[in-house]
């Protein structure tokens, strides 16, 4: 029973990692870039959610606050790509890595200057309530997180596989020039992807804030961990991101419980290194090597 309880809390944590990993994968799938500021975008989304929902702030209902936060982050993502990232359009991946790391620092600084450095948490209608399934006790927050994650992943999966825009996104990541020739507005598609990943980050952020406290520096390490999740799944695969997130989320509490102290911190990264060494490209790999 104990194991099952650990498993549930692991899955709920893993879903948030998975959601954040989805943001990484979205951008990677569509522009072959990695956004190291994703964790900081989550933090920003969480703070926006708190600003909209908490009593004493705007005091809006939960769902409206969530939508508003997602909307603002979407616009933020779009403008970020339009006015900052387009400056290095077509440059090697590496430039994007450096640029997003710098952006992360700036977002963290801005959030700290606006909201201060004390941890705050979100007030939700389902705080403290639990569901009892037999002898298993599931907090409602965890159930909401799991449901939201599954719904979002499915939607995004079908979006990429079956809509014109989704396919255009995949095309522009595989070969920008060829995509141009096919009449895809590559730059605008990029901006839309960033908007989408902003929305996902906001949803993940609000759910994260519903579960625990946020402060401006939470983004960095959380982002890196989610990043590990995305890599375990194989960057570029949406179900992979979710699977990776779940793996990381489940490994952590079990390592904390059954392995020597300190190992729960490094367990996700060791797992990632193992996956990368044994299966470079992740569990759902999409890399194929060209022979010379």
């Amino acid at each position: 029973m104990d194991i099952l309880q650990l498993l549930v809390s692991g899955i709920a944590n893993g879903c948030i990692y998975g959601l954040l990993a989805l943001g990484f994968v979205l951008i990677y799938k569509a522009s072959e870039a990695v956004n190291f500021a994703q964790g900081d975008m989550l933090m920003l989304g969480a703070f926006l959610g708190i600003a909209f929902i908490n009593t004493g702030n705007a005091d809006l209902p939960f769902l409206i606050g969530l939508t508003l936060s997602a909307l603002v982050m979407g616009i933020f993502g779009y403008l970020l790509d339009r006015f900052v990232l387009r400056g290095i359009f077509g440059q090697p991946q590496f430039a994007m890595v450096i640029l997003t790391i710098a952006l992360g620092f700036l977002i963290r600084f801005a959030a700290g200057a606006i909201w201060g450095h004390d941890p705050v948490s979100l007030q939700t209608p389902f705080a403290g309530r639990t569901l009892e399934l037999g002898s298993l006790i599931v907090p409602v927050v965890d159930a909401v997180i799991i449901l939201a994650t599954v719904a979002l992943t499915t939607t995004l999966y079908f979006f990429f596989a079956h809509t014109r825009l989704g396919v255009a996104m995949q095309a522009s990541s595989q070969n920008q020039m060829a995509a141009y020739y096919m009449g895809i507005p590559v730059k605008r598609v990029n901006s839309i992807v960033w908007a989408l990943s902003g929305v996902v980050a906001a949803i993940a952020g609000v759910l994260f804030a519903a579960k625990g406290a946020v402060e401006p520096s939470v983004g960095l390490l959380f982002g890196i961990k989610a990043f590990a999740a995305a890599v375990i799944g194989g960057l570029g695969s949406l179900p992979g991101a979710l699977a990776g997130g779940l793996l990381v989320g489940i490994v952590e509490p079990f390592a904390a419980r059954y392995l020597p102290a300190g190992s729960s911190q490094i367990a996700p990264y060791v797992l990632m290194l193992l996956v990368l060494i044994l299966r470079p490209g992740g569990l759902f790999a999409q890399i194929s090597q060209k022979k010379v």
């Binding site: 430039a95 952006l103 600084f109």
Partner: protein, 365 residues
Amino acid sequence: MRVRFKSSYDDDINLFEDRWHLLQFGLLLAAAVVAPWLLGSYYLGELTSVLIWALAGLGLMLITGHTGQVSLGHAAFMAIGAFTNLALMLRGWNFFPALIASALVSGVIGAIIARPILRMSGIYLAIATLALSIIIEDVAIMAAPITGGVSGLFAPTIELFGVQADRYGDPAMFYYLCLALLVLVTLAYLNLLRSPTGRSFLAVRDSEVSARALGVNVARAKTLAFSLSCAITGLAGAMYAHLVQAVNYESFLVLISITLLLQVVIGGLGSIHGAFFGAIVVVMLPQLIAITRDLLNNSFGISMASYPGMDTAVFALIILLMVIYEPRGIYGIWIKVRTWLELFPLYRKGMFRRSRTYLKTERMR
């Protein structure tokens, strides 16, 4: 405008292009040698810090700037170098053997790690090294017999041939020690770059496929570059430990790795100058911001103290502008200014225009 007339093949690979070039670097070295007489002890400490970060930057430059493999985890190797050096010295080793040992240990560990890690490319490599840097923080706590656990280690006094060369005992001697080490490593680096091995690193950076076609053993070149890079960074870590006098698991956080990478990018990837320029920026920027802050506070009454983390934000902003407008970093600006001066009335605007590039997937290579 100077015209160089090359009369032998050696002219292409000489360390110094001509007498004038040699004179410039001679003057720079002379200035560095007389610096302890000109600077106060505070600024001498800062200058020593610049030298050590430049050394660490050189290490990262070798793998990232010259072999094209992005590493986000070099603080891990600084940690390995620092702990090896201190642990050996505390067990009674002399400074120099311990320093060489720390370079060797970091280099060997680097080589062992490099083989599996370097099978990945591009972004995956950056992530794997990032993970390494996070793991080392916890390993530093768990390996308590060597690293002193949570409380860490304190640096013992450096004795060189009966002379004390300690940070606080004799800052000038410590400065000379760092300077000598840096000059030696830089010369070795320059020599490496003009040897076939160094050329193979550059070939791997520019195109792995072409390098393989030309007979370069890509895996070997990458492993060697990574190992050498780790060894240099290990040296820097050992010197850093003596600079700050006490190290524990918190001295080499993942942020240091990131800062180190940003340092070489801001300085200019693919140039030895870049490592030095970057180190100057990283060390001097907080000073500059503190001075500006005081100035604003005293003359205009604008208080900036309520915004902690200001220096990181300014640093990030510089990086942002640099990546967008001048991807070759400070070295790129330096080259432009120099060319403008050399060609004085003849400089044309489009000389350094970047060619348009289009991204292609890395997933199907």
